[in-house]
């Protein structure tokens, strides 16, 4: 999962011999990411020692699969955070999509593609609505999507009457999404890889991505440099809507039915946590898909390990909070930046 976007670390002397390439590479991995890699290695080692099967291929797949839905949302959360916004409604959006996909599937006489198309269409619509409220209603992104968190949850519940909808595991397509494998890797994980790669390329290789960083870095400057901020913001929220819909479809495929809230509630915090831990500055203009994915992997590996050890959920909460702090403190110590004012 992480290897797709993060080039492996290069041995020291190699890097030193080719300084230009070395620096570029280091900045590609990112000082930020190095400590995440360290933390991930530590987690893998500790649990690997505690349990023989932790490092097995199967368990790695389990971790990856469990992290997929959060991962998808974290990737798009990264984009919107870079852009200077935030989307607290991603979980609710996924819930809407899950319900819509199952209901459209059922009402079209078990047509999986109709179900998915309906979910993505609704996702895009919801995303554009979010963007429009922010851009044209001039509502701060945090508040707008806080409102969305409630409103879209309500929408999902109203559509479904609060019940799980339909049953999709008779359908080959949904079964393939939920349980299939390609080249030994779960289909879900492939989807995450594809989305992450696409977003990574978008952010780093295209002018669109550059402009997204610019908008988040200094919106006045971006506007004066000729970037149509409004267009960008609406598009980014539409992208979130679409990817959240994909997450919702996967939720349906995994659980077998459309779930209005179960399985999607709370995903916003997980996604934001991953993005922030992965190095996104919540003030905008900074962040990478690679860092976010590393953070997703770290949190996933930790949760899996703790569960495998039979640690109860109370200790898991404490451990997760503590790890989050430690990872960031280490990160900050490493970058050694001057401590002025509030840490970003």
């Amino acid at each position: 999962m992480t290897t797709a976007t993060t080039p492996p670390a290069v041995p020291d002397d190699e890097a030193r011999r080719r300084p230009a390439a070395g620096t570029a590479l280091l900045s590609a991995v990112g000082g930020q990411n190095l400590s995440l890699i360290g933390a991930l290695a530590a987690v893998l080692t500790v649990f690997g020692l505690l349990n023989d099967h932790y490092l097995s291929l199967t368990n790695m797949q389990v971790i990856a699969e469990a992290a997929t839905i959060t991962g998808l949302l974290a990737v798009v959360q990264t984009v919107v955070i870079i852009c200077g916004g935030l989307d607290i409604s991603v979980g609710s959006q996924a819930g809407v999509a899950s319900v819509v996909s199952a209901m459209a599937f059922t009402s079209t006489g078990s047509n999986a593609f109709a179900g998915m198309a309906a979910a993505v269409a609704v996702g895009l619509l919801v995303g554009v609505l979010n963007g429009a409220v922010i851009v044209y209603g001039r509502v701060n992104p945090t508040i707008a999507t806080l409102a969305g968190l409630a409103a879209y949850k309500g929408l999902a519940q109203l559509l479904s009457d609060g019940r799980a909808q339909g049953y999709v595991l008779n359908d080959a397509v949904f079964v393939f999404l939920g349980r299939g494998r390609i080249a030994g890797l779960p289909v879900m994980v492939w989807i995450l890889v594809a989305v992450a790669l696409a977003v990574h390329v978008l952010l780093t290789r295209t002018d669109i991505g550059r402009n997204i960083y610019a908008v988040g870095g200094n919106d006045t400057a971006a506007r004066l440099a000729g970037i149509d901020i409004n267009k960008y913001l609406v598009s980014v929220y539409a992208l979130i809507g679409a990817v959240a819909a994909v997450a919702g479809i996967l939720l349906t495929a995994r659980t077998g039915s459309g779930q209005p809230t179960s399985g999607s509630e709370g995903l916003e915090l997980k996604a934001i946590t991953a993005a922030a831990l992965g190095g996104c500055a919540l003030k905008g203009g900074k962040g990478t898909v690679g860092g976010t994915l590393l953070a997703v992997a770290l949190l996933g590996a930790l949760e899996n390990g703790l569960t495998g050890q039979g640690i109860n959920s109370f200790w898991q909460n404490v451990a997760q909070g503590a790890l989050l702090v430690v990872a960031v403190v280490v990160q900050q110590r490493r970058t050694g930046e001057r401590a002025v004012g509030l840490p970003a």
């Binding site: 295209t206 550059r210 400057a221 000729g226 970037i227």
Partner: protein
């Protein structure tokens, strides 16, 4: 310390000189930022009752020295002495307590509180129980505005976010000169870069008084005239090292430039007029919230200067032309085609570029690289199927950083790590690289060193020769006089006159800029 006196426009009463050794001294000061050696082994006296000017190219280390002096940066090596005793400056609070104050290069303003609180932030007047003493605050700000001569340009109730660049600068100046314990050392880091003559005069009078009170004044500027008007001694930094201290009375501009740049450099600029009669930018009756009925034509190859005092509306006019401010009435055409309003992107694509005045707030992406900052307005030309051609991008950035001599380890360096002047050059590079038909430069040489200034003038001349229509806003009159084919003067949102190159003198411009009762004499003229 030199005892030689020199003739100055301000006569100095022979005030009682403070004891020798009074004032500050830095010894063996060294500062590294990663691979960048910002200061190396600088030893310099900053005696009380004297104005020590600090000069050097952009990135020479001037701001860094001042920041160490005020506890903002910790030196990698060396120490600071005050009145002969070493002081440990761990934070700006320590430095303030020791009587060291700075007016930083970039004003730091608290946006949502009024001017009064902005000025006394950190030392607000209070009564028992830490209650804020509002009456005293009011009294103090009124008195200080009056005392410092800023009463007519700074309204105490304005919020920080409403201030213009110049007003922000004044707030910073007031911060350093008021409140708390008596100042022993005051450092000015390019305080006049966004001030006009009027405030500059007030400021210099102030500095004169500080000197008489025995304060050690450190003054950083790239403006030769100011240096000679103000300084007693001039210290020159090059590449982080002190290359010489000269007595202001005996040195010459020529010598200073050679010290700074390491070679001879002609700072005299003469421009060859290449004006055509093809109107490129045609503004008729443009009215916004603060400018009214502006008529303006700029021809291909012409450089039009915009002059005026603080708040005259020059920047507002520029932003309105760039599509960033709502236009109430009037029309603007570019090459005969109406210019869209309200959308800077469309304006830029139509061929008009604006390098805005406030680099940090309006132009720079501080956490992005020099390359990104330059290419941001040019990406349309640098992409293939929306993929940025990175080699072409890097070449472009390299070309302009070379031409403007941006002092940076590479184009991949983060812009926030550059010195102020170099950041300004990056902003200019962006718009030069864009090659628009009409280029508006708002205070283009703010904080730029002598050598680079000459380069910028040359680029402006080149652009004019290529048929670009240029509109230059500058508060530095000599610069405008040297550059512009024609000068349009604004006052209080209206044009008060226009001077051809031949007519334009400092006196003539100032007369129009300060012309009284223009607005009161014909009140009904506005829309």
């Amino acid at each position: 310390m030199s005892r030689a006196r020199r003739a100055t426009p301000h006569s100095r009463p022979p005030a009682g000189r403070p004891d020798p050794g009074a004032g500050a001294r830095v010894e063996g000061l060294t500062k590294r930022f990663g691979a960048v050696q910002a200061l190396s082994d600088v030893t310099l006296d900053l005696p009380g009752g004297r104005v020590t000017a600090l000069m050097g190219e952009n990135g020479a280390g001037k701001s860094t020295l001042l920041k160490i002096l005020t506890g903002d940066h910790r030196p990698t090596g060396g120490r600071v002495l005050l009145d002969g005793r070493p002081v440990d400056l761990r934070s700006p609070a320590d430095a303030r307590a020791a009587g060291i104050r700075i007016i930083p290069q970039e004003p730091e303003i608290v946006p949502h509180v009024p001017v009064a609180e902005n000025v006394y932030v950190g030392s607000l007047p209070r009564r028992a129980g830490r209650r804020l003493d509002r009456a005293e605050l009011r009294r103090r700000i009124v008195a200080d505005l009056d005392r410092l001569g800023f009463a007519d340009v700074l309204e105490p109730d304005l919020l920080g976010s409403q201030l213009t660049a110049a007003q922000r600068q004044l707030v910073e100046i007031m911060r350093a000169l008021t409140g708390g314990s008596a100042a022993r050392v005051i450092a000015f880091d390019e305080p006049t870069s966004s001030l006009s003559e009027h405030e500059v005069d007030a400021l210099f009078a102030l500095i004169g008084r500080l000197r008489e009170q025995g304060v050690a004044v450190v003054y950083v500027s790239h403006r030769m005239q100011e240096i000679f008007r103000l300084a007693d001694r001039i210290a020159v930094l090059r590449d982080g090292a002190l290359v010489g201290v000269r007595d202001a009375g005996t040195t010459t501009e020529h010598e200073l430039v050679r010290l700074m740049v390491g070679r001879d450099l002609s700072t005299v600029f003469v421009r060859r007029p290449v004006v055509t009669d093809r109107v490129v930018l045609d503004v008729r009756g443009l009215t916004t919230d603060r400018v009214r009925g502006i008529d303006l034509r700029v021809h291909a190859g012409e450089v039009v200067g915009l002059a005026g005092l603080i708040g005259a509306g020059r920047s507002e006019l520029a932003l309105a032309l760039a599509g960033d401010l709502p236009v109430r009435s009037g029309s603007v055409t570019l090459d005969g085609k109406p210019l869209p309003s309200g959308r800077p992107g469309a304006v830029i694509r139509a061929g008009l570029g604006l390098a805005p005045e406030e680099r940090k707030a309006q132009a720079l992406f501080l956490h992005r690289t020099v390359r990104d900052n330059i290419s941001v307005a040019v990406l349309e030309r640098l992409r293939r199927f929306r993929f940025v051609r990175r080699a072409a991008e890097r070449d472009l950035a390299q070309e302009y950083t070379d031409r403007l001599r941006v002092r940076t380890p590479s184009v991949e360096h983060e812009v926030r790590k550059l010195s102020g002047g170099n950041q300004q050059k990056v902003v200019l590079a962006r718009w030069l690289a864009r090659r628009p038909k009409v280029l508006i430069l708002d205070e283009p040489t703010r904080g730029i060193d002598v050598g680079a200034k000459a380069e910028i003038y040359r680029i402006v001349a080149d652009l004019a020769e290529q048929g670009v229509a240029l509109l230059v806003i500058s508060s530095e009159l000599p610069e405008l006089l040297g550059l512009a084919d024609r000068i349009v003067v604004l006052q209080n949102g209206r044009t008060t006159g226009e001077l051809s190159r031949a007519e334009a003198t400092e006196e003539a411009v100032l007369a129009l800029a300060m012309a009284e009762d223009i607005s009161t004499s014909d009140p009904g003229a506005s829309s």
